[in-house]
C-alpha cells in the first residue's frame, strides 16, 4: 500500500469521534445491540490501529452482516419504515468502519456520516438539534481534512480551526441558498417517524387521565393570532368529541354508517371531486359573527386529531373536518405541523331538532352502572321544566359542594355515583364525565369534549402546555344546538379565567420539565425565553416553506419569475464568494517590489515597447549589454542606468535611488537604427 493510500492517524481519531457524535442522537430509537456494536467496532478499530487485532475475515464479515439483518428484524419486526432504515444505515456505517483500510473506504465512511447526520433532523428539529448538527458536520469536515492532509500532521487539534473557518465562510451562501433555492415539495412518499410514545390528549378518557397528563408538562402547540387574542375564558382548544361511554371510559365513535354522510370530510377530496358530494351534515354548522384567524404550530403527537377553537375552518389540504366539527389530519402528526385556522366563536351547531337516531346516540348510557345518578337525574328532569334548568341546578350543586384537585381519589365500578356522593373531589375529567352521564340520564343530549383550555401568552403568541389539558361538556338545547358547558368552571372559575397555575402553583411535577420550576422566577424567566426562542425558530426557520418563499420573493421582486430568482441567487452567491476570494487574495497578496526593482521594471517596459524584451533568467547586466548593442546611440544612457541599478539593488546605496528614478523617467528610445527583428 503506497503512502498516499494510507489513512492518516489523525483521521482515525477524528472519525471515531465524529461517528460517536452522529450516532448519539439516534440512540433513543436504535436497538440497544446496535450501540453495543458501535462500542465493539470502536474498540476493534483502536486495536486494529495498534496492531493487536486483525481485520475481520470474509466469513466474519458475512456473519456480522447476517446477524445485523436478523437483529434489525427482531428489533423492529419490519424493514420498511424510517427507524429500521436509519438503523440499517447506521449498522452499515459501523460495519464499513471495521473493514475500512484504504482512503477510498474512509471517504465512504465520512460521506455516509454526512447522510446519517441529515437523518437526525427527521427526529429532532429544535434549535439545539441545529447546533448539534452543525457540530457533527464540523467534526466530519475535520475528518475529511485530516484525511486529505495525509501523514505528517501530528497535531490532532490543528484541523478544527480551519474547518470551523471554512464553515463560517460558507454560512452566508448557505443562507442565500436556503432562502432562494427552489423548494420542490416532497418528490415521493417517504416513511415518517413512528414513535411508539404518543403524546398529548388521547381519544379516550378515564378518570385520572388528565391529571397525570397535566403533571407531565411539555409544550402541546403554539398559536399565533392575527389581531386580538380572545380572552382566556374563550380559549377552549377542541380536540376530540367523545360520545360513547362504557361505564368507565369515554371514547369517540370511530366508524359507522350515517344517513347524512361520512365521519370526516377531507379538504383534498372535496377539491378533487368532480361533483359536489359534500356531506349533508356540513350545513349543521352555522357561523354567526365574530371570527378570529390564527395559525397553530403543533409538536408531533403521532395522533391524527388537531386542536382549534370552536367552530374551526381550515383550508389546509391535509386536513378534514369531522362530523363533530373538530379538525383532523390525514395522517398522524409525525412531524412538527403548521396550519392556519379561522374560528367563528359565535356559532350554532345542529340547532335544528335532532333526528331520532342522533338523539339516541347522544343520550346513550350503558345499563347497570351508576344507579343512584340515574335515579336523581330522572327526578330532576321531572321537577324542572327545561334542560337549562337541570344544567343550572347541577352546576350549582357541584359549585357549592365539590373540590377541584390534582390528586383525585381513585374511583370504583360506579365511578359517577362514587364521585357525586362519596369523594366529591376531582379533576376536570371527573366533572365533565359525571356531568354528561347525569345529563344523559336526564334525557338531555350531552357529550364530553377533550382538548386544552387557556394557554400562556408570551409576546404575541400563545403557548399551550400539556398542563392545560382539559375536558369539558357540550349540551344540546332545543333551538340553540350544542352549547359548551364546563362544570369545572363552576367549581373553580379561576382555572378557566387565569389558567391552571393560578389554582395549583406546582401543577407540573415532572422534574425534567421546565414548567415544574415556574415558582422560581429566574428559571421561569429562562423558560419563557426558551419558549420565545423556540417559537421564533419554528415560525421563521422550520416553517419557511414554498409559500413563505413565494411571499418573500413577491415582496422583493414584484412578479416572481424563474429567471429573476436565478439571477438573484447567482448574483448573491457570486457576490459573497467574490468577497471571500478578495479577502483571501488580500491575505496572500504579493510583497511589494523594492523601489529599485520598480524602477528597473519601468525601464524594461520602455525597452519592451521597441522589441527589446528581457529574457527569462537574463541578468540586469546582460540585458543592458544587449540593449546597448541594439541602441548604440543611447549606450551611455543605458550604461548609466545599469550602474545606478547595480548600486541600488546590490550595493544597497539608497542615495542612488533618486538619480536612478530620474534617469529612468528621462530615458526614451529615440531612434532605432535598424528594425529589431530578432530578440
Amino acid at each position: 500500500m503506497s503512502l498516499s493510500e494510507q489513512i492518516p492517524r489523525n483521521c482515525f481519531a477524528w472519525m471515531l469521534l465524529a461517528l460517536v457524535a452522529i450516532i448519539l442522537p439516534h440512540a433513543t430509537h436504535l436497538p440497544v445491540w446496535e450501540l453495543v456494536a458501535l462500542t465493539v467496532a470502536l474498540i476493534w478499530r483502536v486495536q486494529l490501529y495498534r496492531g493487536v487485532w486483525r481485520y475481520p475475515g470474509l466469513w466474519a464479515k458475512v456473519l456480522l452482516a447476517v446477524l445485523s439483518i436478523a437483529g434489525l428484524r427482531l428489533a423492529y419486526g419490519r424493514f420498511l419504515g424510517l427507524e429500521p432504515m436509519v438503523a440499517l444505515l447506521i449498522i452499515s456505517v459501523i460495519l464499513k468502519l471495521l473493514e475500512m483500510n484504504k482512503r477510498r473506504d474512509a471517504f465512504m465512511v465520512i460521506y455516509l456520516g454526512f447522510f446519517v447526520t441529515a437523518t437526525q433532523f427527521l427526529f429532532h428539529q429544535n434549535i439545539f438539534a441545529a447546533f448539534y448538527g452543525f457540530f457533527c458536520v464540523l467534526l466530519l469536515m475535520t475528518t475529511l481534512m485530516a484525511l486529505s492532509r495525509g501523514p505528517g500532521v501530528d497535531d490532532l487539534r490543528s484541523g478544527i480551526p480551519v474547518a470551523f473557518k471554512l464553515m463560517m465562510q460558507s454560512l452566508p451562501v448557505m443562507l442565500v441558498l436556503f432562502l432562494l433555492f427552489p423548494r420542490l415539495g416532497n418528490l415521493w412518499a417517504v416513511p415518517m417517524p413512528q414513535h411508539t410514545a404518543k403524546t398529548g390528549v388521547s381519544d379516550t378518557m378515564s378518570p385520572g387521565d388528565f391529571s397525570s397528563l397535566s403533571r407531565g408538562g411539555g409544550r402541546a402547540f403554539t398559536a399565533t393570532f392575527e389581531g386580538e387574542v380572545p380572552s382566556a375564558r374563550d380559549l377552549y382548544w377542541r380536540g376530540m368529541v367523545m360520545d360513547e361511554f362504557d361505564g368507565r371510559t369515554w371514547s369517540s365513535r370511530k366508524w359507522g354508517f350515517y344517513p347524512d354522510g361520512g365521519m370526516v370530510e377531507w379538504n383534498k377530496a372535496s377539491k378533487n371531486a368532480t361533483s359536489p358530494t359534500a356531506n349533508q351534515w356540513r350545513v349543521n354548522a352555522e357561523p354567526i359573527g365574530r371570527s378570529v384567524s390564527y395559525s397553530i404550530i403543533m409538536d408531533p403527537t403521532h395522533r391524527s386529531w388537531l386542536f382549534a377553537l370552536h367552530l374551526a375552518e381550515s383550508t389546509h389540504e391535509d386536513l378534514g373536518v369531522s362530523r363533530n366539527f373538530t379538525l383532523r389530519s390525514l395522517s398522524p402528526v409525525a412531524q412538527r405541523f403548521q396550519f392556519d385556522v379561522v374560528s367563528y366563536l359565535d356559532h350554532k351547531v345542529e340547532s335544528e331538532p335532532l333526528p331520532q337516531w342522533r338523539y339516541k346516540q347522544e343520550t346513550a348510557l350503558p345499563d347497570g352502572y351508576n344507579p343512584r345518578t340515574r335515579a336523581l337525574a330522572q327526578q330532576w328532569r321531572e321537577e324542572e321544566n327545561s334542560s337549562e334548568a337541570v344544567v343550572d341546578r347541577f352546576l350549582a350543586w357541584v359549585g357549592s359542594e365539590f373540590t377541584y384537585t390534582l390528586e383525585p381519589p381513585l374511583l370504583g365500578r360506579n365511578s359517577v355515583d362514587e364521585f357525586l356522593w362519596q369523594t366529591q373531589r376531582g379533576f376536570c375529567e371527573h366533572f365533565a364525565s359525571s356531568f354528561v352521564v347525569f345529563m344523559r340520564a336526564a334525557g338531555i343530549p350531552a357529550r364530553v369534549v377533550s382538548g386544552y383550555q387557556g394557554g400562556e401568552l408570551v409576546e404575541g403568541f400563545i403557548t399551550v402546555s400539556q398542563a392545560d389539558a382539559h375536558a369539558w361538556a357540550e349540551v344540546w338545547f332545543e333551538g340553540r344546538g350544542w352549547v359548551r358547558v364546563d362544570p369545572t368552571a363552576a367549581v373553580s372559575p379561576l382555572r378557566i379565567e387565569s389558567g391552571i397555575n393560578s389554582v395549583f402553583e406546582r401543577s407540573v411535577t415532572n422534574p425534567l420539565s421546565m414548567e415544574a420550576y415556574r415558582h422560581i422566577s429566574s428559571l421561569n424567566w429562562m423558560r419563557l425565553q426558551m419558549e420565545k426562542l423556540n417559537y421564533n425558530w419554528q415560525r421563521w426557520v422550520l416553517n419557511y416553506d414554498r409559500e413563505q418563499q413565494y411571499g418573500m420573493l413577491s415582496r422583493w421582486l414584484g412578479i416572481v419569475e424563474a429567471w429573476k430568482i436565478g439571477v438573484l441567487m447567482l448574483a448573491s452567491v457570486a457576490g459573497i464568494v467574490g468577497i471571500i476570494a478578495l479577502w483571501m487574495w488580500w491575505h496572500g497578496r504579493p510583497e511589494p517590489l523594492s523601489p529599485g526593482f520598480q524602477a528597473f521594471q519601468r525601464f524594461a517596459v520602455k525597452l519592451k515597447k521597441v522589441g527589446i524584451v528581457r529574457e527569462p533568467g537574463e541578468g540586469i547586466r546582460d540585458f543592458s549589454r544587449r540593449a546597448q548593442d541594439l541602441l548604440p546611440d543611447q549606450a551611455p544612457e543605458i550604461q548609466r542606468i545599469e550602474r545606478l541599478l547595480q548600486s541600488v539593488l546590490y550595493a544597497e546605496q539608497s542615495e542612488c535611488l533618486g538619480p536612478l528614478r530620474e534617469e529612468v523617467a528621462r530615458f526614451k528610445v529615440r531612434s532605432i537604427s535598424a528594425p529589431i527583428t530578432s530578440r
Partner: protein, 348 residues
C-alpha cells in the same frame, strides 16, 4: 492536464489508431502550456497558471449533497435542506481555499546534481510561500517520485524532487507537476511548470571487465620504461609529502625554489580510456564501459585520460578531473551546452 494525459496514454493497444489524434492533442496541450506558463527558472503561480477540478472524492461529495438534499426535500425538513446548502456552499468556498493554497507561491530551480542514466536525479528547488501558509503540496516530475512540501508564511524552503534520468546528456525532465488537494481533498489544484531544468546525465556504468592496462601506446612505453625508475623526466614544484631524496637541491641552491625531480616511473601509472579499445560495440555500450572504468580508476587513485573521437583529456585524477571525464562521456555526440531557455521554449 494530467487527466487528459493519463486518458490518452491508456489509448494504446486496441485503440492504437487513435495515437495520431493523441499526439495531436498532446502537442496542442504542450503549446497551450508553453503559452500560459513559459519556461523560466523562477515562476510565481497565479490564476493563469493554475488548473482546478474536483477530485473523485469531490464527485462523491456532490453525490452526498444530492442525497442530503433529497432527504430535506422529501421530508420538507428545513434543517436537512440547510445542511445540504451548507455542504454546497462549502464546496464553492473550498475552490478558493484550494486555489489560494498554490496561488502566489514562487518556485525556483536551484541546481540539479549530475547523475547516471537510469538513476534518480536530485533536483533542488526553492519555494517562497509569501504571506500565506502553504499546506500539503505534492511535487512530482513526470517520471519521478512525489515530494510533499508544507510551508509556513515567509519561510523559504529548499527541497529536492527526484526524477529518473533516462537519457544521457543534458536530460530534460519535462514539466514538474505541483498539485494540492488541501483543505478537504475534494478539489485538486495543479500546474505544470517548466523550470528550465537540465540534468547532466552520465552514461550508465556497465562492468567492462578488468581495467585496461596502464599505457596503451608502445612509443610512450619506451620513453617511460617501467624498469628504469631512475630516468630523470623533469622538475615539478615541491609539494608537501614529496620525498626529500628527490628534491632538486641544485636548483634550490641557485635560488630557483624548491623542486622535486620527476622520474619516469611516476608517469607509468597512466591509463588511457580509449574509445578504440572497445571496437565492435555500439556507442552507448562503449560509453557505459568507459564510464565504469573511469569510476573504478578514480577509486584506485591512478591517473587516467580519455580518448574519444574528437575529444582527448590528458591523464590526471581528482574530483574535477573525474567530473570533466564524465561530462565528456555524457555529452559525447550531444550538444555541449544546455539549451538556452528561450530557444528551448520555441522549439517545443
Amino acid at each position: 492536464m494530467s487527466l487528459v494525459r493519463s486518458v490518452l496514454t491508456k489509448l494504446n493497444g486496441p485503440l492504437r489508431w487513435l495515437s495520431g489524434p493523441k499526439r495531436y492533442f498532446l502537442r496542442q496541450f504542450e503549446r497551450m502550456l508553453q503559452r500560459n506558463i513559459p519556461t523560466d527558472h523562477r515562476i510565481t503561480l497565479n490564476r493563469k497558471k493554475l488548473f482546478i477540478f474536483p477530485t473523485a472524492a469531490g464527485f462523491g461529495y456532490i453525490a452526498t449533497i444530492g442525497l442530503v438534499w433529497l432527504v430535506g426535500t422529501n421530508y420538507e425538513n428545513n434543517l436537512a435542506l440547510a445542511m445540504a446548502y451548507l455542504m454546497m456552499s462549502l464546496f464553492v468556498v473550498v475552490i478558493h481555499h484550494t486555489h489560494f493554497n498554490l496561488s502566489g507561491l514562487s518556485i525556483a530551480f536551484v541546481q540539479a546534481k549530475p547523475t547516471f542514466e537510469g538513476e534518480d536525479a536530485e533536483v533542488w528547488l526553492v519555494a517562497e510561500p509569501g504571506r500565506r501558509v502553504r499546506e500539503n503540496m505534492v511535487l512530482r516530475w513526470p517520471q519521478g517520485s512525489e515530494t510533499l512540501v508544507s510551508l509556513e508564511p515567509g519561510e523559504q524552503a529548499r527541497f529536492a524532487v527526484y526524477v529518473k534520468a533516462h537519457e544521457r546528456g543534458w536530460f530534460y525532465p519535462g514539466r514538474i507537476t505541483v498539485k494540492s488537494v488541501y483543505p478537504l481533498g475534494i478539489f485538486r489544484c495543479w500546474t505544470h511548470l517548466d523550470l528550465g531544468v537540465q540534468i547532466l546525465t552520465y552514461p550508465k556504468p556497465i562492468n567492462a571487465g578488468p581495467i585496461p592496462p596502464a599505457v596503451g601506446n608502445n612509443d610512450e612505453g619506451k620513453l617511460h620504461s617501467l624498469h628504469g625508475g631512475e630516468d630523470f623526466a623533469g622538475l615539478k614544484t615541491y609539494q608537501l609529502g614529496d620525498s626529500l631524496r628527490h628534491v632538486a637541491w641544485k636548483q634550490y641552491a641557485r635560488g630557483q625554489g624548491l623542486h622535486t625531480k620527476n622520474f619516469s616511473a611516476f608517469l607509468d601509472s597512466r591509463h588511457w580510456l580509449d574509445w578504440d579499445l572497445l571496437a565492435g560495440l555500439d556507442t552507448e555500450a562503449r560509453l557505459s564501459r568507459l564510464t565504469y572504468w573511469a569510476l573504478e580508476l578514480e577509486k584506485t587513485a591512478s591517473d587516467y585520460g580519455l580518448r574519444l573521437p574528437g575529444v582527448e583529456i590528458i591523464p590526471s585524477r581528482g574530483k574535477h578531473h573525474q567530473d570533466a571525464v564524465l561530462k565528456a562521456l555524457a555529452l559525447f555526440g550531444k550538444s555541449d551546452e544546455p539549451a538556452s531557455l528561450t530557444v528551448k521554449g520555441e522549439k517545443r
